[in-house]
């Protein structure tokens, strides 16, 4: 049960094991999309479920995401060759101008990647133009912004405005400790989530996946 053991290795937060098992499965000729879907992505869904139920703490979610990402890195060359169907969409993500806090943003980026999205992480202290240019250049489906400081949060609205002014078709998502659904709605963001697993759900929902 090769794919099942990949699933188990992600749940046990063992990156090395995941890499080893993914290589083994590829060698055996197992369908790469089943390694991805039933092995890695299914495992992250389970991790998200355990987190929501309070069984998993945040560091466990983070380590599982790292294990899964390690697996995807091995899988990536084969995925591009086999089919692009497994790519769920492209996300440009960053912490807004004036803000250096990136723990939450990194977790969301990793979880999105784990769910099969192509993620371009712009880092921290990202200004409006950088968001807009990256969205154009990468042909992003979603632009996701994070802020921890209440004083930098208003910058999110500027980015959303600029995206609309540039008539980009991408959806926008916002998150971070001070951000609420009400704030997200008011500034015209398409999506908001309280936590990282929720962000993945929201991204799927926005793209109708």
């Amino acid at each position: 049960m090769g794919v099942q053991s990949i699933f188990d290795a992600v749940i046990s937060l063992d990156s090395d094991k995941v890499v080893e098992l993914v290589k083994e499965e590829i060698g055996k000729g197992t369908d790469v999309s089943s390694i991805l879907e039933q092995g890695l992505i299914a495992a992250m869904d389970e991790v998200g479920k355990r987190f929501s139920e309070g069984q998993f703490f945040v560091p466990e979610m983070l380590l599982a995401a790292q294990a899964m990402k390690a697996g995807i890195d091995v899988l990536r060359p084969y995925l591009i060759r086999s089919d692009s169907k497994s790519k769920k969409g492209t996300v440009v993500i960053g912490t807004v101008k004036g803000d250096l806090h990136d723990i939450g943003k990194n977790l969301v980026a990793m979880m999105l990647e784990g769910a099969g999205f192509e993620v371009h992480d712009l880092g921290v202290d990202v200004d409006t133009d950088t968001f807009v240019n990256a969205a154009k250049e990468k042909n992003a489906d979603i632009v996701a912004m994070s802020a921890l400081l209440t004083t930098t949060m208003p910058t999110m609205e500027e980015v959303i405005k600029a995206i609309k002014e540039n008539q980009l078709k991408c959806k926008t998502m916002v998150g971070g400790a001070p951000v609420t659904q009400a704030f997200a709605s008011r500034i015209g963001a398409d999506g908001y989530s309280e936590d990282a697993p929720g962000a993945v759900e929201k991204a799927r929902e926005l793209l109708g996946l």
Partner: protein, 482 residues
């Protein structure tokens, strides 16, 4: 006064924490994202890697800077009678600040705060005797473009004579706010004589990173000789080790890095060793400033501050509660009591719920009462032969009463604190009075104050001058319709 502060570390352990911090600054260093700060460190002999922006601070430089640390920090007020000096006037009680939201006093619902809310809160804080410094409690959602900070500082200064404190997100806002200060003072020189805007930043983002904008503001203000201090905010499990001692060491290293930068710019510039050291709730990653570990860390940081002979304190007494309930009370009460007994000087504690996310009027009034209790606790037991009352005890003797003694009449209005929120009624009277809980009583007290005219407002001529100088400025009037 408190004659023996509570300690959680021995003196040897304090020295060990200091040594460990020096080792970190020398061997690991900080990521300094601000160019000017890197140049200052470099000029004074720190090792600066221009590729990685890592700055390593040799111990001799930190130790040299320590020699210019000063033990006092002054909060200047619009009205000099409200000036506060740390540690002489401690505990100095400050509102907690920059929440985006407010609990609407009429609907009880959370909503975004506005500049009018800031004006009302400023009026309230001006009137509540427990508060010494008004750190601007909320943001102002109605701020016109280009006046983000002005829309906070103007209503705050207009309605409060006590020292006003807050931050600005960039240099444009900082300079605009200083312009406002000069207008109020009458001239730039007059403002520099008594700089009543007290700037605060968190330029160090844990772990071991100095940011661009806040660091820029700190450098500018220190160069100008204007008041500024920083708070160090490590969060165990997230941005600091999942260890109380490890977080103390990291936070202490970060304080020393900031203090070193400040002393390199202007030796003798006043400092506060201010922290908000917390332990993250790893179940969800939630920020937990109301956790008891925040108090444990505050006590230890206060010991470190005593070792450096600088005033101490920080955001202590915050709560994670979303309403003014028992949790809100016990978190604020326990955390501040611990910090007070440890000798902390500065308490950024008042008025906010939901871990700094929302201001609540009743919370501010209850925290005022907690503040008065802390001040009373700090007074301790005045000790003298006379206070021992040996003659009086002999006079009354066994079985008598002190009720009818002149001594009692003379002292009964000053020995004990008379709370306004806490009830001392019998159950029957309390029921007759509508079974009001502390929140309801506190909210009523806030409304009573807000309905009165505010004595602190600007003279009309000054106000028109300011309004002409900043076109489109928010009204900044305290208006409260019941």
């Amino acid at each position: 006064m408190i004659k023996q502060f509570a300690n959680l570390l021995t003196q040897d352990e304090v020295v060990n924490v200091h040594e460990a911090s020096l080792e970190i600054l020398e061997n690991v260093g900080l990521l300094v994202r601000n160019e000017k700060a890197r140049q200052i460190f470099k000029r004074h002999g720190c090792q600066v890697d221009s590729q990685t922006a890592i700055v390593k601070i040799p111990r001799r430089i930190v130790e040299e800077c320590r020699k210019s640390f000063v033990p006092r920090y002054t909060f200047t007020a619009r009205d000099p009678k409200y000036d506060k000096v740390l540690p002489d006037d401690s505990p100095v009680i400050v509102t907690a600040s920059s929440a985006p939201n407010i609990i609407d006093p009429k609907t009880g619902e959370e909503r975004r705060a506005t500049s009018t809310d800031i004006a009302n809160i400023a009026h309230l804080i001006n009137e509540l005797p427990g508060y010494d410094v008004f750190s601007i409690s909320t943001l102002a959602e109605d701020a016109p473009e280009g006046q983000f900070s002005l829309s906070r500082f103007y209503p705050a200064l207009k309605n409060c004579l006590k020292p006003v404190r807050s931050n600005t997100p960039n240099m444009h806002d900082l300079k605009q706010v200083l312009e406002l200060g000069a207008l109020i003072a009458g001239s730039e020189e007059a403002y520099r004589e008594r700089p009543f805007i007290n700037h605060h930043y968190c330029p160090v983002v844990s772990p071991l990173t100095m940011d661009v904008e806040s660091t820029e503001a700190v450098i500018y203000l220190v160069e100008q000789g204007l008041p500024v201090y920083g708070t160090i905010v490590p969060n165990a499990g997230m941005t600091a080790p999942m260890s109380l001692l490890g977080t103390l060491v990291l936070g202490n290293a970060e304080f020393l890095a900031l203090a070193t930068l400040i002393q390199l710019i202007r030796p003798g510039a006043p400092l506060i060793y201010a922290v908000l050291s917390t332990v993250a709730d790893m179940r969800s990653g939630a920020y937990a400033p109301g956790a008891i570990e925040t108090a444990i860390l505050q006590v230890a940081h206060t010991q470190m501050a005593r070792f450096y002979n600088v005033p101490s304190g920080g955001y202590i007494g915050l709560t994670n509660a979303h309403v003014n309930d028992a949790q809100s009370g016990y978190e604020t009460g326990m955390l501040t009591t611990a910090a007070l007994l440890a000798g902390a000087d500065l308490f950024n504690m008042g008025g906010l719920l939901s871990s700094l996310m929302a201001f609540d009027y009743a919370k501010a009034v209850i925290d005022n009462e907690i503040a008065l209790m802390l001040k009373q606790l700090k007074c301790g037991i005045p000790f003298s032969k006379e206070e021992m009352c040996i003659d009086l005890i002999a006079e009354v003797g066994p079985g008598g009463t002190y009720m009818d003694k002149v001594h009692t009449l003379k002292n009964m209005r000053k020995v004990a604190l008379f709370p306004k929120v806490a009830t001392r009624e019998t159950r029957g009277r309390w029921e007759e009075d509508g079974r009001k809980d502390a929140h309801q009583r506190a909210l009523q007290e806030a409304i009573n104050i807000l309905k009165k005219e505010n004595p602190a407002v600007f003279p009309p001529e000054l106000d028109s001058k300011i309004r002409a100088h900043f076109p489109g400025l928010v009204p900044g009037e305290a208006v409260f319709n019941d």
